[in-house]
Symmetry: C2
Subunit: 754 residues, 2 copies
Amino acid sequence: MQKQVYPPQVLKYIPLFYVIWSDNLVTASEINVVQNTIEQDEKLSPSEKEDLLNWLQPKNPPADDVMKNWKLFISNSKVKLIESETHPLASFSEKIIRHYHTATVETTPLEHIEVNLGIQPNHYNHLFDVDVVHESSSNYYDAARLDQLLKGKHTLLIDNFRQTLNHPIFEWDIHRNKENFRQKVLDQVTFLAEKGFGALAYPNDYGGTNNMEGYAYMFENMMYADGSLCIKFGVQFGLFGGSIQKLGTKKHHDQYLTDTGKAKLLGCFAMTETGHGSNVRGIKTTATYDPKTDHIIIHTPGNNDNKEYIGNALHSKMASVFAQLIVNGKNEGVHAILVPLRDKNHELLPGVKVEDNGYKLGLNGVDNGKIWFHQVAVPRENLLNKYGDITEDGNYKSDIKNPNKRFFTMLGTLVGGRICVARAGLGGAKYSLTVAIKHALQRRQFNDSIKVQEDLLMDYPSHQVRLTPLVAGTYVYHFALDKMMETYCDESQPDKRVVETQVAGLKSIITWYANSTIQECREACGGKGYLLENRIADLKGDVDIFTTFEGDNTVLLLLAAKGVLSDFKAEFNSAGFTAVLKILGIQLNNTLTTSNPVYSNKVDKEHLYNPKFHKHALNYRTRRLTYTLAMRIRDYIKQGMPSYQAFLKVQTHLLALGKAYSVELAYETFSTYVVTMEDDKYKSLFEKMATLYALHEIRKDAAWYLEQGYLGSTKSKAIRQRVERLCTELRPHLNSLVNGFGIPEHCLTAPIAQ
Amino acid sequence: MQKQVYPPQVLKYIPLFYVIWSDNLVTASEINVVQNTIEQDEKLSPSEKEDLLNWLQPKNPPADDVMKNWKLFISNSKVKLIESETHPLASFSEKIIRHYHTATVETTPLEHIEVNLGIQPNHYNHLFDVDVVHESSSNYYDAARLDQLLKGKHTLLIDNFRQTLNHPIFEWDIHRNKENFRQKVLDQVTFLAEKGFGALAYPNDYGGTNNMEGYAYMFENMMYADGSLCIKFGVQFGLFGGSIQKLGTKKHHDQYLTDTGKAKLLGCFAMTETGHGSNVRGIKTTATYDPKTDHIIIHTPGNNDNKEYIGNALHSKMASVFAQLIVNGKNEGVHAILVPLRDKNHELLPGVKVEDNGYKLGLNGVDNGKIWFHQVAVPRENLLNKYGDITEDGNYKSDIKNPNKRFFTMLGTLVGGRICVARAGLGGAKYSLTVAIKHALQRRQFNDSIKVQEDLLMDYPSHQVRLTPLVAGTYVYHFALDKMMETYCDESQPDKRVVETQVAGLKSIITWYANSTIQECREACGGKGYLLENRIADLKGDVDIFTTFEGDNTVLLLLAAKGVLSDFKAEFNSAGFTAVLKILGIQLNNTLTTSNPVYSNKVDKEHLYNPKFHKHALNYRTRRLTYTLAMRIRDYIKQGMPSYQAFLKVQTHLLALGKAYSVELAYETFSTYVVTMEDDKYKSLFEKMATLYALHEIRKDAAWYLEQGYLGSTKSKAIRQRVERLCTELRPHLNSLVNGFGIPEHCLTAPIAQ
């Protein structure tokens, strides 16, 4: 072993080299950055350059003895690593030089290498025996600025709303008795309505500001106070009020909308039936027009045909009832009719029966119930008649002649609700991540017996890998939903079919993501996560049903996939089915052939971090799944299989397509936003999150990519390593990232998050 | 299009051919079965044989026109498919022949093909336009017989216990108030204790029957009544009683064990501390021996050093407290000491403070609390002194000199508890699957407009794929845990280290599996699954914490992986580190080289269903992960990294190894059992479940297998298809399979499971 002291110019590089070779993640292209620096370093003599470059050969790394010797130099210097410095590793090197060389020497600054390689103190602080001044988090990114970016144009509204949540009525507490809990939530809803928040999305004439986008954002923030509040609020103003606003006409608006927005008229949205959950078109409740009395008769025919899970059912005075409208003996399809449920004394009206749905896994502050109608007559005017009406002379008329199209147009008005549910799920994920990460930045666990303090939970690689991609996903989905709502509200684009497909997919993947995130956070907090006081448990129960209501996720994914197929079909309808399949097949094959095997085994950082690669990979998956799906369906149908059966046979394929499409959409939307960011500092953080999201998603489906030959083994492994590496790179900023969610202090009551 | 009527001998094959070619899952080796039959069919003329064989070429399948023609023949016959017949497809063919040919003709029976190809009515009933007499389930397998196989030698005990659960005290109800719920559960525990169930695992002298294996099985059945009952029972008899039994000596047994078994002495197990969850060795509570008074002083030094989540804390008179034992100023490590908490009037004794942990996500019938001790003195005799004692003259002595070994020996007594937790998780999974599958066999959903009835939920491929592998997993884990408990209880094998490693791994994968199963069942039942009345919701909350308590799953998996590494190390300690790595490397490479690419792309059914392939694949993964892990650690240590840091760097790798090892173990144990089965009919069912489990597990990690080159694309895809196919093959038997879990009718209260 050499005992010589390295000259200062060389010594400068030693800690960096030690870090590089101890960390097996540095690739050839990254080493290139260091090589260039050395070659251009004028302070180095040619022989010194040669020595240094010799230690930089990926195929011939420094011998173990050399490494040990470096380590000894570093240890013997007794220099402390100060993590809070701007360039900790470069400063560390400077101090080591000063320890061994008393004379002042000028050296080339190496800060840019540190930045360029993305090396963080948490990557190397464990490598040195020297004492380390630990910082649990970095303040490099300002949480308020991140919050600002997330709030965007809604800042004023949101800040105001968050302040409103500071009122004592929103103080979080444990409610076990459903009656008390429901009353509390009703009081909260009324309080918010009185402040004007209930009518936010309604037109100005009815107390609102026409601000549906702000409404969705507010909806998410409501989750920070309580899940039941959020859902009951949504039922009253979004579903009940929304059905009046969107399916009704001016007479309904004038009569009901203002009172609804103020929660003076409480209502519910009676669509789902016990026997017909997801199949709305198959509901059995009838609404039969009786010309003699000019009334519509609402009736529940069978035992299983009652309305079920209807939120606000116990508090409501009125229901927006979805039923098969029968005029002159003809079924005109599903329509919504306003049906009074109770009188002023809150007694049920004749023919109406309501039963409490009882206790649920979560959302026990929401009064869900079952409703039966026995020949209940309401005036003809109660039909919400925007898309279909009964004329004064007792005939049915509609501007939309195709009953299918009419049905889907009406259902299309539910799309806003689906965005809101996804937003609420995202709110639950943000809250849980904030609690879990703050806990992990305080809680210590195990250790090497040498150290006095146990390590922070957040310093465990497994903990970083389990939580960090979820944080990145939250940022991605936040902007994806923002954009979705903007498009949905854009009146210059009246055709909402594309948005419907998109929302169906995003609602599914985001509510599933929210559930698994909350579960991961629960487990990450151990026993503390299990206590209601820490709030994750309630969120888990509340958000669970988001995967089922406002459209069951599986059904919605099938819908999204069929939407993708229709676009595809539209393409081939013009060119001819087989022709298009052939062309597409050639294109897909070309993509592979031209890039394979160089492309499928490209593992350098530039490539793996390049948005072009992410886009290509995600888009390839969607297109490939569409193509193979179309081929399969075509073959089945050619054999004479009815198309319903053909679609049943490819069901799991459809689900895969629905997911692939939605992930691509989320990534595309986020990365389009990132490109427009002006502040380079924050832009690079967002780019890192986009990269982590994309690589993590590709990684999750690596089996498929490998099967297709799109990824080679080496690349697949490299992606896994990059995901772990990105997690450690984001580790210092996790506290800022979760603070950036902007959960107000008065809502963040979990004791472990203090 | 041909219009000729096929001769009867040929017509016989038509429905089968139509099924085969419509179902793109039939592989070359399966077609071979049909070819052989045709070649040996003496009733066919040479030209008929030729025609038939021409339609059997995988590379040149029948033209679409031919397929359409077949279909027309079948449809025009108006023959009904009767699913309840023993060989529905063969009978169907016979009837079609009789329709077209009035004369009686003898044909070769084709039943064996139907059996051999595993074709089920649900594979083809959608193919025919004819009316179908639908059977939602088959009675081919007898549920009582399956239950018998699962109960094995514990039948008498279990049947008796299940009958006991029929007492009104176990009637399930919703409990929202924790005080009432806890009292109810306490009453249930006392009731069972009085019947002798509490002492079951204790020696005969103390009211027991030494039946730890039966205890575990009973524990699982308790979940069918209530999760809180199960856990409180386990705390009282398993943890508190178990610590007296296993860490104490005869004086403790004589004084406490009988009363504990009868629940006359209620106790708790005070190990976990707020600041030290998984790191038991790092707990801070002290037990200092005071020679002057001959007492041990129990003390909680710091604010975060209190005991936490201690079950039974509010009802207990005594605690088994784990603390650092200090004798003559020397810390002798963690020991357990019996500390009285309350007097006869249930008042806390001086120096003891207890606080309620409050409401939790689940298990609210269990009284978890925090406990602080302030200089509480107990007699020296209260030290549970089996593995370490304080002599009369005030010195510490232990037969186990190595403090590390002593600590792990004491902790080893917890292994039984871990098996029980996994069993309880499995009970939760069984219950949820039973509810979800019974619901899916009744509930109808969507449809083709032509049919009068909507399809059963269970007929959707996505529903089959989401639930069936979970049923198979339940059977596999059931037998794996049985075997584990048998080995643990086998007194002829005193060294329990291997069992400890195995249990650590199995507890982790099985409790995670239980959670995801219950979640899948919740979603599969839609809104109905969200209602407490259907029981899945409570199970979800109760089982959730099983991943954390009795050893956090992540920590346990690391333990399991380190166990595997130690065995590996033991191997190379004799032969020399590098030598073994080299040999193993060559072996692993050989395995691949010799079989590649033929092996890695072998896709015929015989191979994919062959247990040898499953064993090889699962074993290859464990060995490969061990080898690469050892290599990485060796390299880090060679570079001078402290071993603690090296292990931190490979943490995610360790977790992967822990999982791989546990899955292999579960599969091996189950398939060893299946080989011994004598009844061929049930054996073939169990073989199918073993195959589904193995292929599903390989499929879940397909990315890794593809990366290693162990699987080729084609094979990986074929495995995915086989998983889907196996799910449809098991579809008719799902009802028998869940009934086979033997959940007593009086416990199966969920309305949707009626």
